[in-house]
């Protein structure tokens, strides 16, 4: 698939993300971090 094929998908994702309320974005960012830590056993240093 050429890069042009991905463009509509990327635009849809960006559009949906922009329309999302800030608080829900916080939940999604938090959920993504938990998913990464759980699935990849990601070690985050401090």
């Amino acid at each position: 698939m050429s890069i042009d094929g991905w463009r509509p998908t990327a635009e849809t994702v960006t559009g949906r993300w922009s329309a999302l309320e800030r608080d829900w974005k916080s939940v999604i960012v938090g959920g993504m971090i938990v998913a990464l830590v759980s699935a990849l056993e990601l070690q985050i240093p401090w």
Binding site: V27, G30, V34, L42
Partner: protein, 327 residues
Amino acid sequence: MAIRRLLPGVFALCLGALLARGLALSLGVNNLLLAIALGVVVTNGVGIPARLESGIATHKLWLGAGIVLMGASISVETVLEVGGRVFLVVIAVATLTLIVVELLARNVFGLAERLGSLLAAGASICGVSAVVAVAGAVSAREEQVAYAAATVLLFDAITIAVYPIVGDLLELSSTVFGIWAGVSMFSTGPVVAVGFAHSEVAGQWATMTKLSRNALIGVVVLAYASYYARTGDGDIPSVRTLWAEFPKFVVGFLALAAVSSLGVFSTAQQTSIEHAYNWLFLLAFVGLGTEIQLGDLRQTGLVPAFVVMLSLLVASSLSLALLLVLF
């Protein structure tokens, strides 16, 4: 593309967080308060370039995400054990603050009705977010919103400095200090910052208490909207307002606390999640510091500031006395 526009500011927040962490380790001071100080110094010293502004404004997103992740570290047993008492204190103090500000604003100092309501919502529930939410429901004028928001930000700046000092002077326990900050300070960011600056346990209590207070915003917006609609100059509210105004990151926090209490995370995963929220808080607090612009705070009106100061003194001292009796 929107994300490209945000990147420089987010990169600046990351740099600020790393700098705050590095300085805090070498100077032996609290990294969260240092992150706020860094933001204050930069914004008031050299100013924030326009191309960084939109990225730096994402700091509220990182604070919300950090609070969601904090859900994984919460001891559900402890919350169930003392949560009922804390929630009663939250309702009592929020109601008291709201009434004191309304009475002082209307009957003693003669402020405009809507300005008094905005100050009351900001002081009793969740700072500037509450001011904005109530302003929409009561059709407040723009200058009233700006005035009320500036007053709330002034007291955010003052309480960030004063609460840790009072906590140390009175040698408050982590639980009492955390709940006290959560129940009486205004905005969520400063509450989380001073809580974690005191101790990990105080930070968790401060955040949980503040979240339960934030959850009351829907009820307050609904009440104000009903009042102003009754007087004939506001929008007619609906029960949908309750959900529309409910802070959604509280849902994420509760969901993660429930999942974590099932024991699905290993110790290593839990540690990584804790480190992740520590970093997110640092990013958020560098950004929060840039919002404290001393020039704007000087323009806060004397009377609104005095009204809010009186109510803060009443709510803060009464809630501390109550907490010292209860815990």
